[in-house]
Subunit: 204 residues, 2 copies
Amino acid sequence: MPRPRTPLLDRRRIGAAALRIADDQGVLAIPALARDLGVAPSALYHHVSGRGEIISLMREELALETSPDAWDSSQPWEQALEEWARSYRTAFAAHPGAVPLLATAPLAEPFMHAMYEKVAELLLTAGFTASQVMPLINAMESFILGSALDLVAPPVMVSDVTRETAPHLTAVLDDTPTDHRRAELAFDVGLRALITGFRALLPR
Amino acid sequence: MPRPRTPLLDRRRIGAAALRIADDQGVLAIPALARDLGVAPSALYHHVSGRGEIISLMREELALETSPDAWDSSQPWEQALEEWARSYRTAFAAHPGAVPLLATAPLAEPFMHAMYEKVAELLLTAGFTASQVMPLINAMESFILGSALDLVAPPVMVSDVTRETAPHLTAVLDDTPTDHRRAELAFDVGLRALITGFRALLPR
DNA sequence: ACCTGAACACCGTTCAAGT
DNA sequence: ACCTGAACACCGTTCAAGT
C-alpha cells in the first residue's frame, strides 16, 4: 500500500488507542495496538521510538483527559490539595486495566510540569518552606500511585486456616467491604491522615 | 541428561534466583533465570505453573528475607507502626531493580497473613475500631508500595523552559536533593504525617 | 514522509522422550 | 519425579521496497 495522502497515524492517536487497549486487555501488545489502529506494527515506529515511548504517550493521554482545572487551587490549601489528589486518582480509576502499566512511574514527563507548578505554588502559599514542598508532593504522589494500584489489587482471602491462626485479622476483615468500597475507604482515610499530618508541620 | 538423584531445583531456590536476576537486570526473563540455575527453561515448569507464580515466589522470598521480628509490636503503637512500615520498605529497597515487578501488587499471598495479623492486633489494641483497621492498613500499604516505586523513579528534570514557566516548581526543586535522599525525605515526611493523622482518629 | 511485508532475535510454554 | 531438547505461537523491532 502506498503512503496515504493524509497520515494514518499520529502520536496522540497512538497514545489514546494504547490506553484503550491496555485498559481492555490488561496488557499492551504492539500487534494488538496496530490492529486497532488499522496499520501494520512496523508503521508505529515512524512515530515513536518503541514500546517505552508508547507507554509515555499513554500517560500523556491520561493527563490530557484529566481536565487541568479539575481542581481549584484558590480554596484553602487543605481542600485544594485534597481535590488535586482525588482528581489524580480518578484519572487512574477511569482506566483500571491500564493502571499497572501507568502507575509504576510517577508522571515525571515534561507535560506534568504545569501540574507540579500549581501544587508547588499552593503549598508555598500555604506557608510550607521551599525544602518541605517537594517531599510533601512526593509523599502524596507515592500514596496516590499506591492507591491507584490498590484499585486492581487481588482481594485478601480469608481461608479457614486464617480464621484460626489470625483471629484479629479475621475480625477486621469481617468489618471490611470486599467490593470497590474497600479501596475507596483506604484512600479516603489515608488522604485525610496525610493532610492532617501535613497541617501539623505548619507554624501556627 | 537423566533425572538427578537429588533434584536440581526447588521453589525456594527458584524464587531466590529470580529475585537476584530481576534485581540485577531490571527484568525477569525465564531463559536467564534457567541459565542462572543451571537448567533448561522447561525444567522450571515442573516446579511452578508459570511466570506469574515465579513472581509470587519472589515476593515470598522477599518476605522470608525480612526478619519477622524486624519490628517490635510491644512498643507504643505509633513507634511500632513506624517500625513496621520502615522494615517493609527496607525489604524493597534491598532489591531496587526488582521493585517494579514486586511492588505492583500488595503482598496479599497467604504467607503474608502473619504480618497482617500482627498489625491488626496492634491497631485494635491501640484503640482503633474493627472497621477502621483494614482501611488504615491498606492506606499505609499503598503509601509503602508507592514509596518503594519512588525509589526507582526517574528524577524530575528542570529544563530551561521549566525554569521560566514554572518558577515555584524550580524554586522547590532547587531545595530538593537529587540523590537517594529525595525518596528518603518523602518517605519520612509521609510516614510521619500518616501516623499523626491516624492518631487524630483516636478518641482521647 | 509514511506505510507494508518480510525477516530477526527473543520470549513463555508445552510435550514427548529419557532415566 | 525430574530433567532435556525440540517445537509452537507470539512478541518487539529493523529494514528494504514502494509511493
